[in-house]
């Protein structure tokens, strides 16, 4: 099964929609509750990162009997130093984004903690692709 969602940068009132729809689908598929929670938490952080940091993006969720693979691909400023971005507490979030409660610099570490595999590739001034895998 493959699901795709479009995400618009700056659209905080719809942030989290993709994650909550994916949660419903995974529940219907009777996937283990603990795995669902990890997947949707990682997905939510990735979804919000597109909203907070990029222009627009597409999220693809592939589900089979073996794993759940999520690809978050955006057009945006990209990440100049991925290792630095992965550090807990590092954030370039704007004051407006911080006012909403984002910008703790914990999103990428949360994604890493809740997935079995995570890979980021990024090109400055073009965009970022994050791949997340949870094995079933």
């Amino acid at each position: 099964m493959i699901l795709t969602y479009k995400v618009q940068g700056g659209d905080f009132s719809n942030a989290g929609k993709c994650s909550s729809e994916v949660k419903k689908v995974l529940k219907q598929l009777n996937i283990d509750h603990k795995i669902i929670k990890k997947v949707v938490i990682a997905l939510y952080e990735g979804e919000v990162n597109i909203v907070a940091h990029a222009y627009h993006g597409v999220i693809t969720v592939e589900i089979n009997t073996e794993k759940i693979k999520i690809t978050l691909k955006d057009e945006g400023p990209g990440i100049p130093d991925i290792n630095k971005a992965m550090e807990q507490g590092y954030s370039t979030a704007s004051p407006i984004v911080r006012e909403l409660g984002f910008g703790a610099g914990m999103g990428l570490p949360n994604m890493k903690k809740n997935t079995d595999y995570m890979h980021i590739s990024s090109e400055v001034n073009k965009g970022t692709e994050v791949i997340l895998i949870n094995y079933l």
Partner: protein, 111 residues
């Protein structure tokens, strides 16, 4: 304790989802940083915050929290209440500060 027990506090009221006041509260978490809540809050916790944007509902729902308590007389946006109704997350507001709310909750849970 249950969400219903909080509603007995002074200057504290529920704005939505009274059908969920039987939700069990086992613990609490105080934070205004959303990713911090994602990292550290757990199921059945009451989340104490001054945040009023509807994003907090999505987080409470993903983490399966018992309720959100918005402190310091902060008033949530209308679209937050709409979202909370869909996700069945009780939204409680209080005139108390986060510190006082956490203290009261702690005593109710542990004494």
């Amino acid at each position: 304790m249950k969400v219903a027990d909080i509603l007995k506090w002074e200057n504290t009221k529920i704005l939505c989802c009274e059908e969920s006041i039987a939700n069990i509260i086992t613990d609490g978490y105080v934070s205004d940083l959303l990713s911090d809540v994602i990292a550290h809050a757990n199921e059945n916790m009451a989340w104490i915050t001054i945040q009023t944007h509807k994003n907090i509902v999505a987080i409470a729902s993903l983490k399966e929290l018992a309720c959100i308590i918005i402190t310091n007389n902060n008033i949530p946006a209308d679209d937050l209440i709409e979202a909370a109704k869909q996700e069945n997350i009780p939204i409680i507001t209080t005139s108390m500060t986060s510190f006082d709310t956490a203290g009261k909750l702690y005593i109710a849970l542990h004494y």
